[in-house]
Symmetry: C2
Amino acid sequence: MTPRKGQAKMNAEKIPDIIIGRLPIYLRALQRMSVQGMKTTSSQELGDYVGISAAQIRKDISQFGEFGKQGTGYSIPFLTDKLREILKVNRIWDVVIVGLGDMGHALARYGGFGERGFRVVLLFDSDPAKIGQKVDNFVIEDASQLVERVRACGIKLAMIAVPAAEAQGVADRLVQAGVKAILNYAPITLMVPGVRVQYIDPVVGLQRMTYYL
Amino acid sequence: MTPRKGQAKMNAEKIPDIIIGRLPIYLRALQRMSVQGMKTTSSQELGDYVGISAAQIRKDISQFGEFGKQGTGYSIPFLTDKLREILKVNRIWDVVIVGLGDMGHALARYGGFGERGFRVVLLFDSDPAKIGQKVDNFVIEDASQLVERVRACGIKLAMIAVPAAEAQGVADRLVQAGVKAILNYAPITLMVPGVRVQYIDPVVGLQRMTYYL
């Protein structure tokens, strides 16, 4: 049975991670095009926008169904909806932040989560001087309460912004609390079997560019 | 002519970007193993550490030469040196930060640059309330002086941490000043032909994990 036009194929399980990793980039570009008042785009135009070849974009998107029309390209609202559906960000995910140093504060105040599928709902730190302080409307809670609070709220996503030495311990407790995906800002590799981790490390970003200089 | 053992092959130009992107991850793991007192490792052990298969690691590293010994694995100091050489971080690169909001402050105070090949040397903001303030030992300078100051210092690397609406303009001026690689924290795709850009966007990191939840 071939999928109907515009309907996502159900073989999503087999999609390589590298392709999944590009979809949020496409989605970000489409949402920005939409803000600029654009209604349609082509794989060429989208490719120029994100620095990926038109052929690669067509190939990536075609993994999920036929979302464009020969000659007229992609409807931006339609493709946006489809990508949000594929990435499961056509809903709002609650997120917890652990570690309210400079980075944690930057994340807590980051304005770009809401419209892209996420909402920060809990903040934790272990520093008595920080516990009880507010960041915008949220109170920084005691990290010793992390497991029970995160579990009670049913949160599956966390951002870790604690020092490297504390990150593994925090990750262990987040996993214990039921967290299934971690965005890790601490410069260490976490050992959390069965849990997804993405790393945000400015040095890794810089080092993969110096090679080309 | 086959390369001598331990000597980097000179075909580095052809190495796929995806492999280059994994080398900083290996380097970070090796440096951490070294801190823990380890002297040697295997592709299996390194793979477990970073969540990449041993076969992939052997294949990636072998692109650059024969850096391990059958049966005894890799010397951590030797492989560390080789990776630093390949990535060109066996020297210190000067970096400029533009935008000293929460994120810029977090970056300016980040302790992990020095030992991994980078040094923040200039800070810029356009907010009169911030210009002249110090972050650790550095004074925040007026962004209107960016082009001449960055050019005079010969800086090739920049981190952009300004709001999305200002990021393209800042990028244009950095390129004008001679910058060749940008780590961009603003949630937009930059148009900077001929310049390397890496994006750091927490939402992209989260969105590529929700797919699997």
